[in-house]
Symmetry: none
Subunit: 218 residues, 2 copies
């Protein structure tokens, strides 16, 4: 994945000939972090994550969004009721003062793929095919922050068990999204370990996998 590098920080006036360095630098960092967080959030919303890279995240999100729109239309016409719920049925039309009309609906997300090999995508299309191998990724980010992505089938009690496991590991989950609809998705964007003992990412992964597996076996 992404390369990491810890830019050493001269907190105070570092060798800058010009006077505009340190102030804007941090602003840019914050901006980047915000954008990344949003991207992670978006990924956590989209079920069919084919790959983890940013472009794919966006692409999957777009496709998913279109799917949802289509599905809403289906359900809507299936209900055929005049009593439209009324709250907010928003056809994908621009209505705000946003400029730039794309005009052509259904922008294709496909891009030039050199070889025309399209992966059949055996990932979960819809029905909760239970055969889900409980995938877990753990990364440490910038030394302190811990990043976890967990993904498996939902089972009763898994929610509690997972939280308990994280707590037992001494992890303080600070930024996270946990969502279970058909599957179970846990995304910890930031967690710090309270305990002084350093925990290896592999250990966390192992524990979580075991937690998921435990319920899987039921």
């Amino acid at each position: 994945m992404g390369g990491h590098q810890v830019a050493d920080k001269g907190p105070s006036g570092r060798g800058n000939r010009k006077g505009l360095p340190a102030k804007n630098l941090m602003a840019e960092r914050r901006r980047r972090k915000k954008l990344n967080d949003r991207l992670y959030m978006l990924r956590s919303v989209v079920p069919k994550i084919t790959k983890m890279d940013r472009a794919s995240i966006l692409g999957d999100a777009i496709e998913y969004l279109k799917e949802l729109l289509q599905r809403i239309n289906e359900l809507h016409s299936e209900l055929e009721g005049p009593a439209d719920g009324g709250s907010m049925g928003i056809p994908p039309q621009q209505q705000s003062g946003a400029l730039l009309s794309p005009q052509s609906f259904a922008p294709c997300v496909k891009e030039e793929c050199p070889a025309s090999s399209i992966s059949p995508l055996p990932l979960l299309p819809g029905p909760p095919t239970d055969l889900q191998p409980a995938k877990v990724e753990v990364r440490t980010r910038d030394g302190k922050g811990i990043n976890i992505h967990m993904f498996c089938a939902r089972t009763p009690g898994l929610l509690l068990s997972t939280m308990r496991a994280l707590d037992d590991l001494g992890l303080d989950v600070q930024q996270a999204v946990i969502s279970c609809f058909n599957g179970f998705v846990l995304d910890v964007f930031r967690a710090e370990q309270c305990s002084d003992a350093e925990i290896a990412p592999e250990e966390i992964k192992a524990v979580l996998l075991q937690t998921a597996g435990c319920h899987e076996a039921l």
Copy 2:
């Protein structure tokens, strides 16, 4: 908006001490363009665009997606709701021909304002300011399904405590989104009680409020 600049390119042999610059440069440019295109596509799909900057685009997309998912859930339960036959044992797993693969949801997309004051008393989870009144709503839907919305400040351990509380109440959380970024937001769209004992919504609410308040008091 973003500044544009057309970096003039010394087309061929630029003063490169090393031999590997120009090739990767173009690759990076293509990557960036692809990402931007995807972003534009995403924006073109989302109707309500508040602002044009990248972060807002992502944020709006997330919120929109959330809305769509919510709406699908509504329509879905509205279809099979009236004919609520014997959903006694455990039919919670989706099996109907309806695909509906969502398994993820979205958190609140608000952001932190650094210091001081913008509107001092909004409702959204913005600043890490602690003074959050811990709001909880509980509703029962069609007898069985339970719907919970909880919202308070994030505190260490709150996640585990809340899960434990729900478990102690005998609730099997089937569709939910828990997200803690700045604040703590729990959204249970569907939960069923395993225990035969009927639990009053007010009881659930009280327990959750107590759980949140407990941590708040720390």
